[in-house]
Symmetry: C2
Subunit: 147 residues, 2 copies
């Protein structure tokens, strides 16, 4: 059973190899060495990494691994809902988010880092014309974060 730990703006999943293997199997994915390794990083350690970040970590920690495998694995994890893929205007690269709770984002313009903002910290009220049926929304805050 994964247990939880407090973090600044969201709760990061702490999972053992077994937990990860089980999650993958539950989602119909074989828990291969590469996949479990990538999951360790992307589900438990990384904070909004790009595919390139994941590849760099994997080469360091798992040995030689193809970029295609990184993309395949990230794609599969997104498909089964263990990960979310995001794109922001300030970069052409996708970033991957392991926070599965509904949340918004804060972009630190100084550091380039993305922080998660829980939905309950923002409240949006809208006054649109009748024709608009809103099904959801994304809010991106921008600014700086004091150390």
């Amino acid at each position: 059973m994964p247990h939880k730990r407090r973090a600044k703006t969201h709760i990061k999943m702490q999972m053992s190899r077994q937990d990860i293997e089980q999650s993958l199997r539950d989602k119909g994915l074989q828990p291969t060495l590469q996949r479990v390794g990538i999951c360790q990083f992307v589900l438990c350690m990384a904070d909004h990494p790009t595919a390139e970040d994941v590849h760099a970590w994997a080469e360091q920690n798992l040995g030689k691994i193809s970029l295609a495998t990184i993309y395949n694995t990230l794609g599969s994890l997104v498909d089964v809902g263990l990960l979310r893929e995001l794109k922001f205007s300030h970069s052409e690269k996708s970033i991957y988010d392991n926070n599965l709770d509904e949340h918004h984002h804060f972009f630190d313009v100084k550091t380039g880092l993305i922080h998660d903002i829980p939905v309950q910290n923002l409240e949006l009220s809208m006054n649109l014309g009748k024709p608009f049926k809103v099904e959801g929304y994304e809010i991106l805050l921008k600014g700086t974060v004091k150390p």
Copy 2:
């Protein structure tokens, strides 16, 4: 002098060739045939077009024109502040927005169209930790629009 006209969610600038030429000159850009032509479309007619959309229109209406010219021109217009460039998660392509007022966006998930939402139609209240200094924010609403 450009005059104005009401539209659903924002006011579209109606400009003569002369107006456009003057705007360009005011911004320090030579009003070449290509630039004026592209401006006619992108400032007065188009609704959140991609570079490809602009190129297609230009080939139709101005004759053969290089894609590089489209990108150069759009880039210049963005640089001088006559146009804004936006990227959304649902597409890899940039789109160009001629609405210079501060505003948010509504993505119609059925049609793929983007609609502008004036700032005064949304109100955001936030309750973040002390370290966050918010300098601005972007809101993307998603849903459908009744015809």
